[in-house]
Symmetry: C2
Subunit: 241 residues, 2 copies
Amino acid sequence: MDTLSSRIQNGDVPAVCRSCEARHGGVCSALTPAQLVELSKHSSRRTIDAGTEFIGQGESISSYSNILKGVVKLSKVMADGRQQIVGLQFAPDFMGRPFLGESRMAAEAAIDTEICVFPRRAIERLIAETPGLEHLLHSQALKELDEARDWMLTLGRKTAQEKVASFLALIASHSDPEAEEKSMFELPLSRADIADFLGLTIETVSRQMTKLRKEGIIQIENNRHVTVPDLGRLVAAAGND
Amino acid sequence: MDTLSSRIQNGDVPAVCRSCEARHGGVCSALTPAQLVELSKHSSRRTIDAGTEFIGQGESISSYSNILKGVVKLSKVMADGRQQIVGLQFAPDFMGRPFLGESRMAAEAAIDTEICVFPRRAIERLIAETPGLEHLLHSQALKELDEARDWMLTLGRKTAQEKVASFLALIASHSDPEAEEKSMFELPLSRADIADFLGLTIETVSRQMTKLRKEGIIQIENNRHVTVPDLGRLVAAAGND
DNA sequence: CGGGCCTTTGAACACCTTCAATCTTCGTGG
DNA sequence: CCACGAAGATTGAAGGTGTTCAAAGGCCCG
């Protein structure tokens, strides 16, 4: 629209940030061009292969990051190995636990993922001097809290079939943001991951997927590719009214 | 210590706030005396009897509040009546979901509770003009997110016995903040509430309590009064290493 | 002391898990 | 291009943990 001013504005923005999606929805959208320039000097892009854990549970944290592409799973492990995925993060989510020196969970790329890494000090300084940034992070924390509590209902009170349907509905909502009816997507998680997200076993997940398929609520190809002909039926199977 | 300046400072603080605990740990600690004066004009104390629901799921929100005394349970209900408690709040927690017009869950006093109620507009104006307040609320949101995710592990991966022990350990930690060994407290929840918090039935909760009692990990008198002779054993029974 | 509610206890059952075998998919190398 | 092997997914049968249904016991308050 206003090509002149946007050209000028872009002129101020670091080259690496110019094509970055996170600049619009992510934390960087709360920063001024000058702050972006400063931050970009200390930040770096990183590619993480599927299955790579890049933050360990209990590990001390020296950096934050932004997801540019991909899906990250956050998980907790008990001493005897039992595991629970406590959150999935998608682009352009911010990752890290502000104001806490160590991570209370592990972070692992569910599929091939790209992140932009910022030094911890730089972010904390920016938060202190940029109310808009703290507001944005506060909003994301509240959104994640809402999601965590929704999932507590799923974990505590839903049946295996409802749990699996809830998971599929969650992924569908992140794939086709505004699809009203049909939906198609690739599952970012293996059956084992889905089980750890739902508090079930691999076998139960598999059986419930088969059941949903036989009931015509979903179609599955090559294990990961899912088609949902009628989202309404899936949501109903998830127990969400 | 400096009695003069503290007298002057107290002189600026509204009478109703002077003896209020929340002024130290709660949201009000982030406000200046002048802001406190202004806010107190529009706020009011309220006593809520045990079992009274004072915010409904899906209800539109016109106020926030601070817990002065008591315990509040936050719960979600499914269409068919299945219920899950998704959080417990203690004094001096702030209650309400900033930046969202309606509540995604119900709030009910678990025991007799006192709260200080603020009009929504007043709080949102204060947040916008007081970075320290937003920081405090952000910190509380992150703390609640940590708690919610810890509980997801409990709901998804722990056995009934570990769940009940986890609940008792949680209550113990809120009763005797720094007790190293022994602990005594009154349970703020009925067996039915505990079941809804743990994703179990009343009967299973009862059976596991009996089991913990027979194993000597806890003592119970009059259903609600619990003594924990050795917190270490309870924590171990909760599966926390 | 009686009534109601909450809690405990018991027995049968169901759902999910466990253990085990088979099948599919996909990457690798011949 | 196909064959092979490993990893992941599905399916089956048996078993266990927690649920459901039912009854009895205990606590609180009139």
